[in-house]
Amino acid sequence: MATKGPQDFMDAYRDMLGNWEKMANEFGAKFLQQKEAAQAMNGLNNAKVAMQAQMKDGMLKALDAIQMPSKADIEDLGARIGAIEAAVARIETLLASGGQPADGTPKPARTRKPGKTK
C-alpha cells in the first residue's frame, strides 16, 4: 500500500473533511437526541405542517368555490388514465401473443440448477 506524501495538501484536506463530517455527525446526532432539541424540532415541524395544511385547505376551498380541479385531482386523473392505458396495452399484447410475454420472446425453461454460468 502506497503511503501518502506529506506534500499532498489535497489529501490532508480530504482527511480533514472526513474527520469534520464524522465529528459533526456525532455531535449533531447527540444534540438532536436531547429531549429539549427533539421537542423544539417537533414544535417546528408541527407548526410547518399545520401551516401547510391550512394553506392547502384554503386553496382547495377557493378552487372548489370556482369549480376548478386541484393539482392533486389532475395528477390523480392522469395517473388513473395512465394505469388504464397500460392495462389496455397489456391486454392487447397478451391477446395478440396468445399468452406469451409482452416482448414476444418464448418463456424461459424453469429448469436451472445452481452453478450454471449462463
Binding site: A2, Q7, A29, Q33, N42, A50, Q52, P101, P108, K118
Partner: protein, 361 residues
C-alpha cells in the same frame, strides 16, 4: 489517472501539483456540464407492471437468460422509498444481477399514496398488498413456491406476512437491515417521544405524512452528510463515475415517498412506542404475530455501519424467527451501500445468490 501515476504523484510534489491543476480544470469544465445535464436514468431493466393499485405496484422483470430457476423471487421495497435502489443502472443493478444469475424476478414497489389512502395501515400491507402480490406471482409463474426478499421496512412487512400467512407463506425468506427492536434506534426514539410527539394530531392534520418530513428525519440522523457530500462532489467533479454514482444515490435519497397516515400511526404506536415485536404483543388486524411461526429457511443480513437500523436493532430477529435453517450475516457497509454500490456488487449480491440458488430449484 492510473494507480501508478497516482503513486508517482504522491512521491513527487510537482506531479501532485500538476494532477491537482488538471483536476481543477476538469472540475470547471465538467461542473458546467453537470448543471446542464439531465438526471441519470434509473430503474431501466425491462419490466411489466402486473399490479398498479393506488400506492401498490407489482413488477415482473423480463428474463435475461433462457433457463431460469423453478422458484420465482419477489423483492419487497420499504414504503418510505422507491424500489429503483435495486435497479440503479446497468452493471449496478441487483435486479440485473439476479436476472443474469437465472432468477425470475418480481418486485413489490410503492408510489405516493393518494389522499384517500390515508387510511392504509400495516394490516393493509400485510393482509392485502403482499398476499395479492404473491397470489399474482403464483398465477403468472404457475409455481406455488415463492422466495421473498425484503429491505428495511419491506423486510419487516415480509416478516409480518410470513408469520401470519401459515402454509401460504414464502418458501425462502431473506431480509436486509430489518428493524425489530426499536429501542435501539435512539434518534427515532427521541424524536417520537410520546411525552411531546402527538402522532394522532399530526396524522389527523395531514392525512398522509409528507415526504419532506420523512426525508428530514433521515437527514437529521447524519446532519453533516449533505454538506460534506456536496463538498466531496465538487472535489470529484473530474471523475465521471463518481459524479454518476453520486447523482443516482442523491436522486434516490431525495425521492422519499409520503407515508399513508394510518401506517405511520401504526408504526409509531405499535413499534416505536410499544416495541410490540420484542414485547410479544404485536397484532395485525387482531391476529397475534408470532415470528416463531415462520418455518421457511431464513437469511438475515445486517450492515456494520447502518445509521438508520443499527445492528442491535435488527440482531434479535435471528433468534425470534422459528425456522430450522437460518443464518445471520453482518457485512461491511451502511444502510444503502449494503444493497447497492460497489461493496454490494462484491459482497452481498453473490452471497444472496449462493444462499438462494440451491433453494430455488
Amino acid at each position: 489517472m492510473t494507480g501508478g501515476a497516482a503513486a508517482q504523484a504522491d512521491a513527487d510534489p510537482f506531479a501532485a501539483a500538476r494532477r491537482e491543476f488538471e483536476r481543477a480544470m476538469l472540475r470547471n469544465i465538467k461542473g458546467v456540464e453537470y448543471l446542464g445535464s439531465p438526471a441519470p436514468v434509473v430503474g431501466s431493466s425491462g419490466k411489466d407492471v402486473l399490479i398498479s393499485r393506488g400506492t401498490f405496484r407489482l413488477y415482473h422483470y423480463r428474463p435475461l437468460v433462457d433457463e431460469i430457476y423453478r422458484m420465482p423471487l419477489m423483492l419487497v421495497m420499504a414504503p418510505t422509498n422507491r424500489g429503483y435502489i435495486f435497479d440503479m443502472a446497468p452493471g449496478q443493478s441487483f435486479v440485473e444481477f439476479l436476472l443474469k444469475a437465472g432468477y425470475d424476478v418480481f418486485m413489490v414497489d410503492w408510489d405516493a399514496p393518494r389522499p384517500e389512502e390515508k387510511t392504509v395501515g400495516i394490516a393493509d400491507y400485510v393482509l392485502d398488498f403482499l398476499p395479492s402480490a404473491v397470489q399474482r406471482v403464483r398465477a403468472v409463474t404457475g409455481e406455488s413456491d415463492v422466495s421473498v426478499v425484503g429491505y428495511c421496512a419491506g423486510g419487516l412487512l415480509s416478516l409480518l406476512w410470513a408469520a401470519t400467512a401459515g402454509a401460504a407463506g414464502p418458501a425462502n425468506l431473506v431480509t436486509f437491515t430489518t428493524p425489530v427492536d426499536f429501542r435501539h434506534m435512539p434518534q427515532f426514539q427521541a424524536w417520537s417521544d410520546k411525552s411531546f410527539f402527538d402522532v394522532d394530531r399530526l396524522v389527523d392534520t395531514v392525512g398522509n405524512v409528507p415526504s419532506d418530513l420523512i426525508m428530514t428525519s433521515f437527514e437529521m440522523l447524519r446532519p453533516a452528510q449533505r454538506v460534506a457530500g456536496n463538498i466531496r462532489l465538487y472535489d470529484n467533479l473530474w471523475d465521471d463515475e463518481f459524479v454518476k454514482a453520486h447523482r443516482m444515490f442523491d436522486r434516490w435519497g431525495m425521492d422519499a415517498l409520503p407515508l399513508p397516515g394510518e401506517y405511520f400511526r401504526d408504526m409509531t404506536k405499535t413499534l416505536m412506542w410499544d416495541n410490540a415485536l420484542i414485547a410479544g404483543t404485536m397484532t395485525v388486524a387482531g391476529r397475534p404475530v408470532d415470528l416463531g411461526a415462520i418455518a421457511a429457511p431464513y437469511l438475515h443480513i445486517t450492515a456494520q455501519h447502518d445509521h438508520i437500523v443499527p445492528p442491535p436493532a435488527s440482531a434479535p430477529l435471528i433468534e425470534m424467527v422459528g425456522s430450522q435453517e437460518k443464518n445471520q450475516v453482518e457485512l461491511k457497509g451502511g444502510h444503502v451501500s449494503l444493497i447497492a454500490g460497489a461493496n454490494a456488487v462484491r459482497r452481498m449480491w453473490p452471497m444472496v445468490d449462493e444462499w438462494l440458488g440451491e433453494k430455488s430449484v
